[in-house]
Symmetry: C2
Subunit: 598 residues, 2 copies
């Protein structure tokens, strides 16, 4: 019985002389001079407990049977550790508990790995024994931080008048962008539910329903090939408000994020956050999620090179492409091998080469310097702010390739040059995104954020004449170069929504078939509205300093979307499939209790 329990990690020197009751796991057991010492671990931490040979009730004999991960209940007296035996690396290292009564509540086999932090164990083993992995203090801490963040989010939004409302998991499949997970219907033969990729349409309908302020910590599902920071199901803090413009939602959301950082990490984020337009973010950082913890900004050198003798640059400018440069401070000693390496690096992003000028002490070194006049070179150096000791890197290509290549190059350089301050929290908004982008593969426009995002009022006329130059009322919050969340003011009028559907290539029939209920809803008094979603898992990763999304999810899936602990997904019985009116493709054995292994 928990009554009267003290948690091990909360014992302090003030409790010396008190009798305490503890529950927990044996972390380690040591016999020393006829006395048994056990480090007892519970959720709160660890304390040393001592079993003396003169214990009553054969207690000492039991204590001799203790092994790692045995579960025990005990009562004992808190005392100061004998001088010289203190352990300053433990928060309870000045005290110990001398055991009076105790009982073994459960035994344990030797686990596949030690229950301790910084474990060097293959992740598949850790995932198979996830219930052991989660016992490790660093993962317990992640669970606690996640709980705390969810509590802060909810109470903040509650205080600001938001209602938490659950939306369905069994929804309608409307695949756009990512693949839907499907659920066959037993009652409606041949039909399927789709698991939501986000509650986007539901939250907009809640605004139509007059809820005015909605939020949900919502589970979302995407059947995509997984990367290190993706899971088949993930969680977002999802919000929507009526009667708002951008200036209503941005201050509120940055207050929330600042509050979370302050309460969890103690770090203050100065508000209001800086904002960059999409255009400026791309021009200066080559990215719509710029990491501004370091400089290495992109510089346009087209004006200087357009009439130069270097044909590659001049032609690029003439054809409407871009020629931009990044100046890497103090890198002139970079070996040739590393320069070649960087050329290979940018080629991943489509760049055909990486020109450079090394501003070495002993003079400039560069394969391209010969094509420029001395004056042109000085103008380039002045434009990028180059000094002796720097290297200037160039990329000349179509705009998106230049942004992509140099945007990634500056991050790569910052890592190599260790320019990123370890504990900086750099948070900003990017706004005025293009409403549309051109999908080369599908030969049509596609929504840059999503198809429900409203165009900026001043650009609305361009929808008919120059759609690619229409800016939207979208906004992303970027933290240390990662997209933490994003949202937009939505379209709330049927005619504009229909126009967007048409622009992105949905026929009138398709639009009606897929989104008819939403278009209908817009005709019954839909208020202006907008919202935002934060990726919870990514936020927790940042707050706890983890770089693997599986570390911040209690029961994660592998990159092949499997749970190694429960062996899911698994084969199911023929009876189950029959009731759902589906068959697996021939060649697949089923109903045979087959389970997959990875």
């Amino acid at each position: 019985m928990l009554k009267g329990r003290t948690e091990a990690g909360l014992l302090t020197e003030e409790m010396i002389g008190q009798k305490v009751k503890l529950f927990g796991w044996v972390q380690t057991r040591r016999d020393h001079g006829g006395v048994i010492f056990v480090d007892l671990r519970d959720r709160s931490g660890v304390v040393q407990v001592v079993f003396n040979p003169d214990m009553a009730n054969e207690g000492f004999l039991s204590a001799e049977r203790l092994r790692s991960e045995y579960v025990v209940e005990l009562e004992g007296l808190v005392r100061q550790r004998p001088e010289g035996s203190e352990n300053p690396s433990m928060t309870t290292g000045g005290i110990e508990v001398v055991v009076g009564e105790f009982a073994i509540l459960n035994r344990a086999k030797t686990p596949a790995f030690y229950i301790q932090d910084n474990l060097e164990v293959d992740e598949t083993v850790r995932l198979k024994y996830r219930y052991l992995d989660l016992r490790r203090p660093e993962l317990q801490k992640v669970l606690m931080v996640k709980h705390k963040v969810m509590q802060i989010m909810r109470s903040f939004l509650d205080q600001n008048g938001f209602l938490e409302i659950e939306t369905p998991i069994l929804g309608r499949s409307t695949p756009e962008g990512a693949r839907d997970y499907l659920v066959p219907s037993r009652v409606n033969q041949g039909c399927f539910y789709g698991l939501p990729q986000s509650p986007q349409i539901y939250k907009q309908l809640l605004m139509v329903a007059g809820v005015e302020k909605y939020f949900q910590i919502a589970r979302c599902f995407r059947d995509e090939d997984l990367r290190a920071d993706r899971q088949p199901e993930f969680t977002q803090l999802d919000m929507e408000m009526s009667f708002i413009e951008i200036e209503d939602i941005i201050p509120l959301m940055e207050q929330l994020i600042a509050k979370i950082f302050l309460e969890v990490t103690g770090k203050e984020i100065p508000l209001p956050l800086p904002r960059l337009s999409y255009a400026e973010a791309m021009e200066r950082y080559g990215s719509d999620k710029p990491d501004t913890r370091f400089g290495l900004e992109l510089v346009d050198v087209a004006q200087v090179v357009r009439e130069s003798g270097f044909k590659v640059f001049a032609d690029t400018v003439a054809k409407g492409g871009r020629v931009m440069a990044v100046c890497a401070k103090g890198c002139s000693g970079m070996p040739r091998r590393e320069l070649d390496d960087l050329t290979k690096f940018v080629s991943q992003y489509g760049a055909k080469g990486l020109a450079y000028i090394v501003l070495a002490e002993e003079g400039m070194k560069s394969p391209i310097i010969k094509f420029f006049t001395e004056e042109e070179i000085q103008r380039i150096i002045a434009a990028v702010g180059g000094e002796t000791g720097d290297i200037i890197f160039f990329c000349a290509d179509k705009e998106d390739i230049v942004f992509h290549a140099l945007g990634n190059l500056r991050i790569e350089l910052a890592k190599r040059l260790r320019l990123i301050p370890g504990d900086a929290v750099n948070c900003l908004w990017v706004t005025e995104f293009p409403l549309l982008e051109y999908d080369e593969e599908e030969k049509r426009f596609a929504a840059k954020h999503h198809q429900f995002t409203a165009p900026m009022n001043e650009d609305r006329e361009l929808l008919d004449t120059d759609p690619l130059n229409v800016r939207s009322k979208a906004y992303d919050m970027v933290l240390n170069g990662m997209e933490l969340g994003g949202g937009s003011i939505r379209i709330h009028q049927r005619d504009i929504q229909e126009k967007i559907f048409k622009l992105i290539g949905l026929s009138e029939e398709e639009a009606h078939e897929k989104f008819g209920y939403l278009l209908d809803a817009f005709e019954y008094g839909t208020p202006p509205h907008g919202g935002l979603a934060f990726g919870l898992d990514r936020l927790i990763m940042i707050l706890t300093g983890r770089d693997n999304i599986r570390d911040v999810i209690a029961f994660p899936k592998t990159q092949s979307a499997s749970c190694l602990m429960m062996q899911a997904p698994s084969a199911v019985s023929g009876q189950q499939l029959k009731e759902l009116h589906i068959k697996t493709e021939s060649g697949v054995k089923n109903g045979q209790n087959k389970t997959q292994n990875n």
Copy 2:
């Protein structure tokens, strides 16, 4: 922009003379003496706004175009209503807002039904236009209560050291009892995920993981045929604690429920709650979820009738059956037709008849009285506490039929006799459930609660000799005759869990195949643990006085598990099915944008 907004329903007479900014929907518009009156509705309530013909900027002309459900933004002056025009039925009925500036933010077609409470509209129409239905104040109130209850739950559990932890929706199919919803895997061909019927196993594994105190407001899924109080997906407050016994969890949980009732309804629930053992609940009320807001208790009359001349009763007792009675006070005037009706009523529950004795003023009336001696009759009357004016009803049969028939009869009588106080909140625990019951159909034992429930320590030996008489450490909270929640102390030792699996007919292979990971986990230091789950939707129904579960879910499904608004489930493309390696059964057209209709 929301800045400076006042909510309509929050306007008070103290604000007379102030300028306010309002956003909302036109509830009604009336022209009266050249002036336009609009009832403006937002989430908080309704206020009357007045448009005078002398408004600036053609405002009045715009106001003439207003129709129901138009969305408007306005600024105006709060003033006292002219004497005689107050509306005491509105909370803002003493004031009105004289409009200065205003704008129509969106128009509205005439909705399919009025946005008002106590609507007499076919539910299918309401569900199709759910975004309009939810605008009605009574459903808005439900959403607000649900939000508030979830906030109370979370902060209470947070304060008590519980961590909110998310468990997977894409789990493993382990059909037990109810049918699982399945999700075909794209990556693992021929395999399926199962949606969780509850997070039971995950929360037990979290206890193995040393989390000690877990909760989650969790979505659960059951693919069952739906009744009025069932939905394919539903929500439960799910909890689990380590190192506890029943006496730890029961007081905590009743504090939580009392807090919710107090904060939401203002009603005090006296604590501690009464407890009934399962055996006593069945004996006295014929139900394991007894409604004790009224008497009409069952009385065993076997001792009196066992040697009587009424062979039906005497034989039942002789064969080990039960003969029990319920005394309905003051019902002796009940017409014969109604008595026949009640006979039919109990026949639903398997009773072959319903004998009775009417203790009328003018003497006893009964078809069975002739079989008893005068002394036997007096002993029966004494046993049930009968008086002139009452009717005594009898049922003689196997025990479960007697309980079932008379347990339901007493509820039916209480309704007909209006014995149930409208605003009573009657909350109690039922404990000491049988661990197992006998499944006649499957000819095997089945778990009464579920297969992870621990037997009572004092009955553990009976597992080998008399399994049906083993009581469990299960507990249900019952509110006004409904099961509000339930839980148990769980098994935490492999050998006992294996014994239970065996008793309920799982072979060693099946147990390993389905629950091997759990049995394994039990061997690595599993603490004693237990928990509970409350049905959130049912709790909200009780708190808001709704009798339809669809009223307390924002986007519910019909009894055929469909969403009438979005037309889900729906047909999907052949491409989607191909990627999932499944086919629908022949005869079902697919990939044709077919949608089902109900």
